[in-house]
Symmetry: C2
Subunit: 230 residues, 2 copies
DNA sequence: AAAATAGTGTCTATAAGACATTATGTC
DNA sequence: GACATAATGTCTTATAGACACTATTTT
């Protein structure tokens, strides 16, 4: 455990960290990735988002990927990250001055097949309406991340980063409803989303459910396009 | 002049800086605030945007204000600043590793009455289509700042940060046209901007020009509202 | 009266939003 | 055939965009 040095806190120069607010959606709920904080008064309870210092040869982007994967347990190839905001309040961290470049991360739940990517002792998905008391300014970082996610979802196709490869229009509608926290009219939604041309129908349907099979779709490409959807 | 220490560049930890891309509009052109860079091969030519290190007791916001005012010469009360993006490439600065939290700054030209805020030896307003060769990654920072400005202008009222207190609808239209680099239909613009309700008509007109006087308006408040205008 | 910009309205096309019924699988 | 969700269209209202003339001041 690291302790304060004799140098007064306000006089130490800042060190740089990268933190990742990662979201995923399952059970019709938004969840955020939390890890234990080994620091009083948290004593290894889930109390923070994954993050850590930048290595001397690392960019903030690289450090965000490294800590999101090693501490957050999410595989690099499943993770979308974009820079969110830089938090530089003097007393963010009680031990030393740390400036954090925060990242917004999105992961489609369906690809998280390995146990380490679901819930382990080292990292857990927690409902955003059931967050525990959090360390540092991590509640604020999550708030800003969620705000950014909700805003981006309405004028880009960033939601594709939360969807599995193939999905039905109802799946997509439910994802928008979950992220935005509001109901959407099914008929208007379908008209609008199909007209944008970002989706491709697959020749297959999703059968085996106890109702009429639904057509499967996928996004035409992986880039996030600036298109108004909702 | 600072020189490299014997420690290899890639092994030094980063220090933190705050840089400000400040824009203003005059002569119907967007301009950015540049300062001399005292470093080969620039030898005090205009080659950078104002910025500098964070003091140990300073947030990035505070450092951005400090450097924008002291090095950029723009008075604090005339300046609007918002965080833009954090640049952390390893070799941004040839001397030492510097991570820069960049800020987007806006100033209404009309308030810049003091000589120091216009053009001096220490800082100059340069047309964005006439930028010289720039130091570090400052051209990239300016590019990102301009992109952000153009994007924000279309769905918020951030343009008020470039306008004087009182202005005519033509003034406002020209400001949009200058920032966006495209013509706007006068009648549609007036209908739309008046319907948003963010403007207040003043009981005065702008007289003394050799044509019909124009009504004067001002923004109802100083906050930036998320409203689609163009 | 000439010059210069201010100020205004209509029409058309497109988009947004409210709303209910039929279709097709599984069990 | 009962159940469950998929799939679809119309009407109304609001918004966007193209477009040209009259009004008012100064000189």
């Amino acid at each position: 455990m690291k302790h304060s040095s004799p140098v007064p806190h306000e006089l130490r120069f800042a060190v740089l960290a990268a933190d990742a607010v990662m979201f995923t959606v399952f059970d019709g709920r938004l969840h955020v990735r939390l890890i234990p904080v080994h620091l009083p008064p948290y004593f290894s309870h889930l109390a923070g988002i994954p993050g850590g210092l930048l290595a001397p040869t690392e960019t903030a982007d690289q450090a965000a990927v490294r800590h999101a994967t090693t501490k957050g347990g999410v595989l690099h190839e499943h993770l979308y990250l974009e820079q969110l905001y830089t938090f530089s309040a003097i007393n963010r961290d009680p031990r030393n001055r740390v400036v954090a470049v925060a990242y917004l991360g999105l992961v489609p739940w369906e690809v998280l097949t390995k146990t380490a990517e679901r819930d382990t002792a080292a990292a857990t998905w927690v409902r955003i309406d059931k967050l525990p008391k959090l360390a540092y300014d991590h509640r604020e970082i999550i708030r800003v991340g969620l705000e950014r996610l909700r805003s981006r979802v309405t004028y880009t196709t960033i939601i594709k980063q939360l969807m599995p490869k193939e999905f039905t229009l109802t799946d997509l509608e439910v994802m928008y409803e979950t992220v935005l926290g509001q109901d959407i009219d099914k008929r208007n939604f379908r008209k609008k989303v199909l007209k944008t041309g970002v989706l491709q129908v697959l020749p297959r349907e999703r059968t085996g459910e106890q109702h009429r099979p639904a057509k499967l779709y996928r996004f035409l490409n992986r880039d996030i396009e600036p298109i108004a959807i909702i």
